[in-house]
């Protein structure tokens, strides 16, 4: 980022002659706005449309397909519609907190994007405490949600808000603990640093590094789902129990901001998981062209991150939700101990396992992953056969 500013104000740059102290904020704001409006908002919106399509497909439906080609503009219609909706602040609510809550939620979510990498050179702020920063900033969302739940003066909201606070706060622990194995291995908290410590090949990813990081990945992903209020941990807004949870009283745009956070957060989850465990933007060095390489890196990172967005959608379409006490049991009695074992195991691994054996284990783990995938697709085939489908019942295209 700083290099970009320097090159812009250098001789022949677009901002030649402008002093650094003026150019830097200008470029920052411009670039930030570009990221927010050009990437974050569309990603959140498109994710909402895609989720409805994926969901619909799993449920033998089609999903939104009338607004724009394949219903692609559905998110725009939803957004604009909510812009035009009346904004209700219940008379019994605490008006200030009620209005403030969506701001906090959006800020907490937008700020995470500052530390999310896109390519090897493109990251808004490569903080040396990157991963710590992200965990810290997502905490703002908790405050917002709790505030929304409390200020509505609605019992469903209150229950939703408190559930959400307890849940996010609890799952912070396994999520934090699952980052530790990676930090142990890399010795840095910087997002780019963690990615650089991995390679492009699957066996060079921390996912397959050893059994402990393998387990840590799942613990982290599940904890991240819980922090993002996703099924099976969507108890704060549990529609069938709490009507709409903490946002029961929110209408129109204010509601949409919560909505935006939820969808946008999915990408953040994917990006962090990709960074920590899946080698981030790492691609083989196939070309010298920096532009081409950047595009490849961006594509790789985006696809990896979006795969987890897809997985989250898919999980949501599969699983029921847990109960509050079970949620806590899963966290404190299962995930926290497992995360602690993962961390200690990784540290011990670094100390005691020789490099050649470690290398072999990496290949072995990768092979194991491949086996799991194969078993999975065999199960899929089994279910398809059991359902006695006629040839005309198969339909492979995503477009309908």
């Amino acid at each position: 980022m700083k290099d970009l500013v320097l090159s812009l104000i250098a001789e022949g740059g677009a901002l030649a002659g402008v002093p650094f102290s003026l150019a830097a904020p200008l470029v920052m704001v411009a670039f930030g706005a570009l990221v927010v409006f050009g990437f974050v908002l569309p990603i959140a919106g498109i994710t909402s449309w895609l989720e409805r399509r994926v969901w619909a497909r799993i449920q033998s439906r089609i999903g939104p397909n009338r607004v724009g080609p394949q219903g692609f503009l559905q998110w725009l219609a939803d957004g604009l519609k909510n812009l035009l909706k009346e904004d209700i602040i219940p008379s019994a609510a605490d008006k200030w907190l009620f209005s403030l809550a969506p701001y906090l939620v959006v800020v907490g979510f937008i700020a995470t994007f500052a530390a999310v990498p896109f390519t090897s050179s493109l990251i808004i702020a490569d903080l040396n405490i990157g991963i710590l920063y992200i965990t810290a900033v997502t905490g703002i969302v908790v405050v917002g949600v709790l505030m929304a739940g409390w200020s509505s003066n609605n019992k469903w909201s209150l229950l939703g808000g408190i559930r959400s606070a307890a849940q996010i706060v609890s799952y912070e622990i396994p999520a934090g603990l699952s980052v530790f194995p990676i930090v142990l291995l890399t010795g840095t908290l910087s997002m780019q640093g963690i990615i650089r410590a991995q390679g492009w090949a699957p066996w060079d990813w921390f996912f397959f590094y050893n059994p402990f990081t393998f387990a840590a990945f799942f613990v982290f992903f599940v904890a991240a789902l819980a922090e993002g209020n996703r099924t099976p941990f969507d108890i704060p807004e549990a529609e069938s129990e709490l009507v709409a949870g903490f946002c029961t009283e929110y209408s129109g745009m204010r509601y949409l901001l919560f909505f935006l956070e939820e969808w946008g957060n999915l990408y953040v989850i994917g990006a962090i998981v990709t960074t920590l465990f899946l080698g981030g933007w790492q691609v083989p060095a196939f070309t010298d062209n920096p532009m081409l390489l950047a595009v490849a890196q961006f594509g790789t990172f985006f696809l990896k991150a979006y795969f987890f967005v897809f997985v989250a959608m898919w999980v949501r379409a599969t699983l029921p939700r847990v109960r509050v006490d079970q949620l806590m049991t899963v966290c404190w009695k299962y995930m926290v101990p497992i995360a602690i074992v993962n961390m200690l195991g990784t540290a011990a691994w670094m100390l005691f396992v020789p490099e050649t054996l470690g290398r072999l284990v990496q290949f072995g783990m990768t092979g194991l992953g491949a086996v799991v995938v194969v078993v999975f697709f065999r199960r899929v085939r089994f279910h398809l056969r059991r359902a006695n489908l006629k040839p005309s019942d198969y339909y492979y295209s995503p477009i309908i």
Binding site: W55, I58, Q59, S60, R61, K155, W156, L159, R163, T231, P232, D234, I235, A238, E239, S240, E241, V243, A317, T318, L319, P320, R321, V322, R323, V324, D325, Q326, H383, R386, A387, N388
Partner: protein, 384 residues
């Protein structure tokens, strides 16, 4: 406790004062299955009391019966339990036939049983589907709806409507089976049966799902009988009783089928999971029954000769049939005129709702949803 009033009860735990919250769950709530209201008093997430408040769908069907006459009441029976309207049709037809002593042609009995069993499947699909939805899994619900559409298509061919069938008449049925109904029905049953396994693998045996259902709202067999629970709710508590088998009516004695009974396969006998699994197994049994009926159905007429002005002799009769929600009682008093003197419908949901206050004490708010869904309540069946 007054229903509308708000009385704060302070509970002391560890010396800290916490207040109880009075929550209205319903009448408009996504999982109260229509319009049902619970006045929940909760301490945090734990309910100290959940008092059902019913009557939001009281449509005075019993009074209407006194105005529209025996034939004209048939469409109203559809609306007593719209999810399983066929058994209600049959109940009304049977109580009239019992009063007047009418013999129903055998083919008509077969038609009735086929229709009722198809309807039982579609009703149980709603029951298990909404169970999934209330617990947060939307996909099994839509899959259940999809299979229901197939059954609706079949029933539509049979009687021209998807939900409110008005298929049966006093003395028989209104329409004979369509020409290719047997083939279509058998083909569908063949296709449908493996899907139950898929459904089970997707949701019934899911660990999270099981954890939500097991050991929740345990009802012992004795309690169930005392509270007059019926059908799958009763059998879920381990009481081996099915009207179709034990107080035989229609052609059920001639058919081979098992009566699924809960046996506490996971956790305690009589919990939500048992009630749920009884329904899943009943779907399989219904498939068996339909298959037998479609293969054995005799030729003949499907409607006995009944005068247009139907006047049963003076007297009263009580008929019990096994609806999808269990033992459904139809009580009809005739004064010899064209109009019934008094009709009373005893329904399964009504008694099931009355036990909720008892079993929901000390459960969590999320469990109330499970309990309501496990009883498979249908609002108009409670209120009529």
């Amino acid at each position: 406790m007054s229903l509308g009033g708000f009385d704060v009860q302070v509970l002391r735990e560890n010396g800290f004062a916490t207040e109880e919250m009075t929550l209205n769950m319903g009448p408009q709530h996504p999982s109260t299955h229509g319009v049902l209201r619970f006045v929940v008093r909760a301490d945090g997430e734990v309910m100290t009391e959940a008092v059902p408040d019913v009557g939001y769908l009281h449509r005075s069907i019993e009074k209407i019966a006194e105005k529209v006459g025996y034939h004209g009441f048939m469409p109203y029976t559809d609306r007593v339990d719209y999810v399983a309207a066929m058994p209600c049709n049959q109940g009304w037809a049977m109580v009239c036939e019992k009063l007047a002593g009418i013999e129903v042609p055998r083919r008509a009995e077969y038609c009735r049983v086929i229709a009722c069993e198809f309807n039982r499947i579609s009703s149980h699909l709603i029951a298990v589907g909404t169970m999934g939805m209330d617990i947060g899994a939307f996909t099994p619900f839509t899959h259940a709806l999809r299979e229901r559409e197939h059954i609706n298509d079949l029933l539509e061919e049979l009687c021209g409507a998807r939900l409110t069938f008005n298929y049966m008449r006093i003395g028989g049925v209104a329409w004979d089976l369509p020409p290719d109904f047997a083939e279509k029905g058998l083909a569908y049953i063949d296709r449908f049966e493996p899907l139950i396994d898929e459904y089970n693998a997707l949701i019934s045996f899911n660990k999270i799902y099981k954890e939500r259902l097991i050991n929740v709202a345990v009802i012992t067999g004795e309690e169930a009988i005392n509270y007059n629970l019926v059908g799958p709710n009763l059998r879920g508590s381990g009481v081996d009783f099915d009207v179709r088998r034990d107080i035989p009516y229609s052609i059920y004695p001639e058919l081979q089928f098992d009566v699924p009974v809960g046996h506490g396969e996971e956790g305690t006998l009589g919990d939500c999971f048992d009630r749920y699994m009884v329904r899943i197994r009943e779907i399989q049994e219904s498939c068996k029954i339909i298959r037998q009926c479609l293969q054995q159905i005799p030729e003949g007429s499907v409607l006995a000769k009944i005068p247009r002005k139907f006047k049963p002799p003076v007297g009263d009769a009580y008929v019990r049939i096994e609806s999808a929600r269990g033992d459904m009682g139809w009580y009809c008093v005739s004064d010899g005129s064209e109009y019934p003197y008094r009709v009373k419908v005893r329904t399964g949901s009504f008694t099931a709702t009355s036990i909720i206050e008892q079993v929901s004490r000390g459960l969590m708010i999320a469990d109330l949803i499970t309990v309501v869904a496990s009883f498979d309540l249908v609002a108009p069946e409670i209120d009529r």
